[in-house]
Symmetry: C2
Subunit: 497 residues, 2 copies
Amino acid sequence: MTDTKLDRLKTLLGEVDDLRKASTVLFWDERVMMPPGGAQARAEASGTVGRLAHEKFVSAEIGTLLDELNENDYDYESFEASLIRVTRRDYEKAVRVPPELTGEMRRSSALALSAWGPAKQNSDFKALLPHLERNLELRHRYVECFPKPAETYDVLLDDYEPLMKTAEVREIFDELKRELRPLISEIADAGQVDSSFLHGDFDIDRQREFAFKVVRRFGYTDEEWRLDQTPHPFMSSPGKGDIRLTTNFQPDDLNSIFASMHEFGHGVYEWGVAPELHRTPLGSGVSLGVHESQSRSWENLIGRSRAFWRFFYPDLQQTFPQQLGPIDEEAFYRAVNKVHPSLIRIEADEVTYNMHIILRFELEQELIDRRLEPKDLPQAWNERMNEYLGIDVPDDAHGVLQDMHWAGGSIGYFPTYSLGNVISVQIWERLREDVGDVDEQMERGEFGEIREWLRSHLYVLGRKFTPQETIERVTGSRIDPKPYVRYLREKLAPQPA
Amino acid sequence: MTDTKLDRLKTLLGEVDDLRKASTVLFWDERVMMPPGGAQARAEASGTVGRLAHEKFVSAEIGTLLDELNENDYDYESFEASLIRVTRRDYEKAVRVPPELTGEMRRSSALALSAWGPAKQNSDFKALLPHLERNLELRHRYVECFPKPAETYDVLLDDYEPLMKTAEVREIFDELKRELRPLISEIADAGQVDSSFLHGDFDIDRQREFAFKVVRRFGYTDEEWRLDQTPHPFMSSPGKGDIRLTTNFQPDDLNSIFASMHEFGHGVYEWGVAPELHRTPLGSGVSLGVHESQSRSWENLIGRSRAFWRFFYPDLQQTFPQQLGPIDEEAFYRAVNKVHPSLIRIEADEVTYNMHIILRFELEQELIDRRLEPKDLPQAWNERMNEYLGIDVPDDAHGVLQDMHWAGGSIGYFPTYSLGNVISVQIWERLREDVGDVDEQMERGEFGEIREWLRSHLYVLGRKFTPQETIERVTGSRIDPKPYVRYLREKLAPQPA
């Protein structure tokens, strides 16, 4: 009987998953392929498919099956136990939120996002303010759907990093702040690295060719992957064996090479999920933090390593002989790893990036706890940028308006970026222990064993376990910033001459 | 109350339409963009979305609303009356077919289609035979879902050309056969036209550029259209303001230029449907025959006319100076209009094309009436090819296996191609009367008034009226092959020297 019920649950969840995959295709197509004239019809189609996926998931029948099924009838590690456990948690969260509120949040976010573009363009915070206030108000109503948490922010964080508590993040980030602020000063005192040659004239077709060479070495195949161009890079996986990356090749810098590696990291995580988890709620990456650990691994731990460029730099030099001919490998390596406080998060280096995140994490808590009024955001932002990175924000476009997250209603998302940095090195250290000659392999342009280690230790797990369980299974310990800080210091601190 | 009910009906139909549009995107993506590895997940997602669209359409609530609503409460020509009328007919057809049978037909077609590729490749009819037999058997069960028709074939034909009867098609096709067979002989007797220069080395990028020039002149804009490359050209419309064409540029001929114009004709019909009909069952072309009339109008009546090439030939010559430099406009015009019996339908000229269709139409009736056994198809095919076109079929790959329609379960589809030819000239004659200087406009590369006439007379109507009503509204008469025969004779019969 239990098996029949489990089969029925799988059938219903498979249908929900099909609709979510359809939504994914609609979204990808909208961003990458759709002629602009199709926007209205697409909004309607996406709305209906998304709503049906939600309705089918919160159906009474799934609720009854979850009541009747017991994960303890199965081994904790089994597919069956995980399916029941994870679905139950997803379900219990989903049914708490009235569809009207979900709809209002979606509409409010859509309106705010369409106001955000022009507001950023005109550096006009006031134009966005009413939308931010509305988004915040709706998040308060959202929080009230759940049992009273230790901290209000816990509820929001849980949507992006399940089961993680604000206090844990705060502890990790406080340690990062303590360690990184002096490191940033030391690096600044050691004098400027020249990275001027990274700005110039880089033919887009050649950049694309080079990016393809890199991701093919990583494991990209035409059989299962795509790489397209969009203004904002993203990864999308509309189904098993179908992984889609986008990047934004620009004629005046090489950032898209790193963005391609970043998105590859997201993609290869989805690619490596165990086949039997597909078409169930277990068939994707376990949290945004763990996802980001993989994008940052492939972008930074691999893509900004000496060993990586030992192999690829001669090719890149040949690809852009005019710009890079006179630049030796070491100078290039130092330039793409230059640490320097700057205004824009997505352009920040590996060290200062975290200060951008910590600033946002702190402001988000103050906002949701009503200790900071939205109207006072720009001032708070600018003060803290000065305090943490020692730089003056010239206008809100280069300050509080730079990211779309808050306009999109995402509060609690930012910390997952730095959590990802932290987790990435914990995993990487374990990988290095197991694989041994990681650098030698990368120097030979070989990434198969690295990818296979990550796949078999992490990617296969999908959402079978909680994020914390997953991290512990892979690394043997809880989230811990020490390896990350050690990595940054070893790689980037000024060496005594 | 009636208005409330009508609003409710529109809401439900809007949701069904959203799901159908989602299906359209999934299908387009699968054919044009999806990495092959995504096939299984896509089949599942498409299956679920398609099934839900069907379930939502045949819902009891829509049935009750249709029972309660009366189209006679509204003016016959009104949106409301049409919506009720057309939806009722769709609904009454849809509820007659048990979902199990629909599922079986879909599975059988999928299996047969995957057998068709290799069967054609190996010219191995026996490999396809059991699938054809199965498809036919399921079509018999399908026919039995409906009230007994005058002829069995009527039921199948109705799915592609609603309300058209086999007897009417037979009458039209008999007249075509009577008129075209002597015309084909006359042309053959007059000697060969040289078209050898149409085969050679035609750079694909230049072909693409030229095709874009043509469709942009026709009305293609980046705001609302796409044109991509696929092995089999098709048109897809995933929503208002989103029209997608594909074509198949090949390096050794110029066929794709004509295929692009053909698909543009399908696309511009969907593009021109009145905005208020979108997101309802009225928001698309009225039948396959009328649709084909538009693809053939833009491909043949426009794209193979002297006036069209008066404008475009100098450009094409400059695009391919080596191949076309020595060829004058008249020689080129005659070559792209060369009439010559050949083996393959999709490569056939404007005259012999219809004989390919008539052959299939006749064989389909014999099959469904059990006068011909599937195993005897190749022989029947080859005999009739010899009788109608005087050519010997070397193997089944170039005979009965050339088209995928029967493997896909589509019986009753073929006649709509020739009906389209017939209808195209009826509409075109009326357009010429109204617009007057059609040729002069085309010679100047102007197609706006032609497109606008077609849009405002035909395209706007969508599915508001029956196909026959639609044709009568536009042309003032029922389907009539005489204008088409006259057109072919005037354009293509050998001129007395």
